[in-house]
Amino acid sequence: MKKVLENVRVSACTQPSNLWGKHFEDFKVGDKFTTEGRTVTETDIVIFCGLAGDFSFMHTNEELAKKTVYGTRILPGLLTLAISEGLILRVNLFDGMEEAQFVGIHDLRFTGAVKPGDTIRVKFEIMDKKKSNRPGYGIITLRRTVINQRGETVLTAETSGMKKMTKQEGCE
């Protein structure tokens, strides 16, 4: 078991961007990334509305929603935000909650409706990086744009995350 753990440590040191996400120093202002796509489903809406307790007819009543300008139910905007965050996390640039704590949403705008069956992906850019008040950490601000399968922008936001500044302990 010890040997296995040693091998993992070696991998973590030699391939930090693959296994553990990048460090604060690795990011440059202006870096741009695009995530994979994700098709949003009715199940997503049901789970999300149940968890949040948001049963607005726009998300849960097809007959009423048909009469709106959207013609069908739409996703809660915050579900689009959550899915976009998941897509960004799965790019594996930002490690888990303990090392890359999400610290702020500065300007979240819903610019278009997302419907079940739509496929969304996220384009994001590093806008700013600075030292945090917390020793050993920096704050990275990124601007995300969520686009659907037709290339339409449905959500924009600036968010900040806290990131470790130093390399993994034990790595040179």
Partner: protein, 145 residues
């Protein structure tokens, strides 16, 4: 521009480890470290938005319709859409076992310049834990048409 001051208080809700894990595993990533102990920030807004749904039928909805009527006239409101969240400030993490309540206040309202018949209402939402400590405050802008 209309300024409103009435404050609405929601009933409390306890956030569980199951809530946090389900959210993380379904929408974020099962690899998220720390999951189960504290809610990812993108889960905090849906939780407080759900609390908002709990009070809207107890005065807040009527208040918003009254504000809309003053701004764009007495036409029946058919659709309400979330336009955005701004001025988000997180004071402490939301952890499994915390019981959250929220106060909501209409802080601004205006008629839309782009969409006839739509009123844009800004709500200030402040969430507290079971000890009365502030978890988050944020402005939520809603369009009603």
């Amino acid at each position: 521009m209309t300024k409103e001051r009435r404050v609405f208080m929601t009933p409390p809700r306890t956030v569980t480890k199951a809530d946090i894990n389900t959210f993380a595993n379904t929408f974020l990533t099962p690899l998220l470290r720390g999951r189960g102990r504290e809610a990812h920030a993108t889960m905090i807004l849906p939780i407080i938005d759900g609390l908002y749904e709990a009070v809207r039928w107890h005065g807040l909805d009527a208040e918003m319709k009254r504000v809309r009527k003053n701004l764009v006239g007495d036409r029946p409101a058919t659709t309400e859409v979330s336009l955005g969240w701004t001025n988000w400030k997180l004071y402490k993490p939301l952890k499994a076992g915390d019981t959250v309540t929220m106060e909501i206040k209409i802080v601004d309202a205006r008629a839309s310049k782009n969409r006839s018949g739509m009123a844009i209402i800004k709500l200030r939402k402040v969430a507290y834990d079971q000890n009365g400590e502030k978890i988050v405050d944020v402005d939520h802008t809603i369009g009603i048409f």
